[in-house]
């Protein structure tokens, strides 16, 4: 499918990350925004509302993030693509309906502009502190898709990607960005509508009374119908059978949830995406995602200038994580460096996927580029010589205790 020209703001524009994300959503055919005000997300919200005059898209400010995502789920079942945006503490509120979205297999996109936490935190400081929450935040067994844009242009491109994945695999898709990219202004080049490929959910076309909302096709994804189209379907967030009726026993739980999980696991190769730079000849590889992409690029160049064979692997999809690739790389590397704007989250996933074949080094970054480049560069040098024990992965020394 091609994008609708009415929604595409073709050309090169000077946009903030939040605005670029809106343009991506509109280009992907998104017609609804449900939100609750959060400072880091306001750029996005204001731009969506401004653009809704031209695109005819709908929006609502709900009473909290729980209901914002609930409205998105309701809208998505009417056949309209829907998005919600929030910031970290609102993301915590959304966990309830993230789980419902997974269980009801409802396509939807959730943008999380991360700031530091826990609790109320500081809405001014960027963070990658929700990486693991994005993966495990809602209760029960499930798999999730999450993308991490590294630039303002990525905000546009990845949002289209997010909608395509969400429609194709009938699941909520997360965009994990942060306070800096969302506010940063940059040049965004938006192609003509005819050059933008979008994916619309597969719709059921059979007899109306035979529709089963959870009967999967060959990609393990069940086709959908829209509310009001006469299928008179029932879906429930309880453990259910293919017909959508609640059947609460062990067999049905297995039928229901194993497929939900396998839907992502068996299609991992179709979903997972990453960008490599010089890893094949490298001794040290920096695994990165999101905001740090730029700092990593500079640190790698600096290391190369000093003669250290360095490569980088930037995750486009944070989840599912490219386990096989990391395992494969780890077998011949001297070390893997994982910089993050948190106190260590993805580093453990890298450590796990490398199965002890190499050393993993964590770099605690702040999101302030010049400083981060130095820290990452320092860690690359250290990784070349230093051997570490498992419990040294994170060497955290507090700079000071209080003011």
């Amino acid at each position: 499918m091609k994008a609708n020209p009415k929604n595409v703001l073709s050309g090169v524009h000077n946009l903030t990350g939040g605005q670029a994300c809106v343009e991506g959503a509109l280009a992907a055919g998104c017609g609804f925004l449900g939100y609750y005000p959060m400072i880091p997300a306001l750029d996005f919200v204001n731009h969506f509302i401004k653009r809704s005059k031209e695109t005819g898209s709908k929006f609502i400010q709900m009473e909290d993030e729980i209901s914002a995502l609930a409205a998105v789920i309701g809208v998505s079942w009417t056949g309209l693509k829907a998005i919600s945006i929030t910031s970290s503490s609102g993301f915590s509120n959304m966990m309830e309906h993230l789980g419902l979205g997974v269980m009801l297999e409802t396509p939807s996109v959730i943008v999380n502009v991360q700031v530091v936490g826990p609790g109320d935190g500081d809405s001014g400081l960027p963070s990658q502190g929700d990486t693991m929450q994005a993966r495990w935040g809602s209760h029960g067994d499930y798999e999730i898709i999450a993308l991490a844009p590294g630039s303002v242009q990525d905000m546009f491109d990845y949002t289209i990607k997010a909608f395509s994945l969400s429609e194709r695999f009938r699941t909520p898709v997360l965009i994990l960005t942060d306070n800096v990219i969302a506010k940063r202004k940059g040049k965004v080049s938006i192609p003509e509508a005819s050059e933008i490929n979008i994916y619309d959910r597969k719709l059921y076309k059979g007899p109306k009374d035979k529709y089963m909302p959870f009967l999967p096709d060959d990609e393990l994804v069940p086709p959908m119908v829209n509310i009001g189209d006469g299928y008179r379907f029932h879906v429930t967030g309880l453990t259910h059978n293919h017909r959508g009726y609640p059947i609460m026993n062990e067999e049905c739980q297995e039928l229901n949830v194993h497929r939900l999980v396998n839907k992502i696991r068996e299609n991992t190769d179709k979903i997972t995406e990453w960008v490599e730079d010089g890893v094949d000849s490298a001794d040290i590889v920096v695994v990165t995602y999101g905001l740090l992409s730029n700092a990593v690029k500079k640190a790698v160049e600096k290391a190369r200038a000093e003669g250290i064979k360095t490569g980088s692997l930037r995750l486009v999809t944070v989840w599912p994580f490219p386990e096989k690739r990391v395992d494969n790389l780890a077998s011949r590397l001297k070390g893997i460096v994982v910089p993050e704007i948190n106190l260590g989250q993805m580093v453990f996933e890298v450590e796990r996927a490398s199965h002890g074949q190499t050393n993993t080094f964590f770099v605690q970054c702040s999101g302030e580029e010049a400083g981060d480049v130095e820290m990452i560069f320092g860690s690359i040098k250290e990784a070349l010589t230093k051997k570490k024990k498992y419990d040294d992965i994170i060497e955290y020394t507090p700079k000071s205790h209080g003011a």
């Binding site: 449900g34 609502i60 709900m62 009417t78 309209l80 309906h97």
Partner: protein, 272 residues
Amino acid sequence: MEHSIQIEETIDAAETRLSMEKWLRMDRIPHIWCTGCGIGLTVSALVRAFDKLNLDPDQVCIVAGIGCTGRVGGYLRVDSLHVTHGRAIPVATGIKLAKPELTVVVIGGDGDLMSIGGNHFVHAARRNVDITAICVNNFVYAMTGGQVAPTTPSPAFTNTTPYGAYETALNIPFLAESAGARYVARWTALHIRRMSNSMMEAIRKPGLSLVEVVSPCPMYYSRINRLGEHLETMKFYHENSIIKHGEPTENLKIDFQKQIIVGKFVDKPTGS
């Protein structure tokens, strides 16, 4: 009691059966509700309202949350979503916003709609979303095994109030009116025809409307409070109710085993 208690007309059984088959998922019957529970009656009143309004089942959408009443959605043969506890109203808000031509009905218990979903209810009423909310009030959390609810009248016993409930019970119509609901009515489970008529009016009313149905919970409320078996509580509620249309909602507090004021209390023109 100054007002005479009106006896309800019985509903034509054959007529009811026909409409039931049109609107219910007969493959899911028998339902899960206990003998003496009022939810089944609420469903038949709702189905009658749909039928009398001549609604196209393809254009009706039910959203329900968690709880005994939350299960209603799964028995109605319309597009129905059974979502998280308390969040039926925001999901319905999204649906109505995306497809305003649909008749969207939310049905839930007192705990579902007024406790965990209380904030959503208040804001839907304030926003005046065109949805009909039906709240089956049985004064207790039934599905979880009989815990005290925000609607439990003092000093009723529940499993978690062995010395009697001591908090103030929520006056649902009062809350609904003050939050901005355009239509508010209350009936007991045995007022089937009146309840059904109220549901018709509520569905027809643009904006948020609420119908409260006072229903017994034979398992977790009647038994522990020694209010009798099976239909006895239901009959008690019916016989001890008094119809006072237009009664100011602040007077509608339900006291333990006292008179229950029923009727249509709020019916405002839209846009007011």
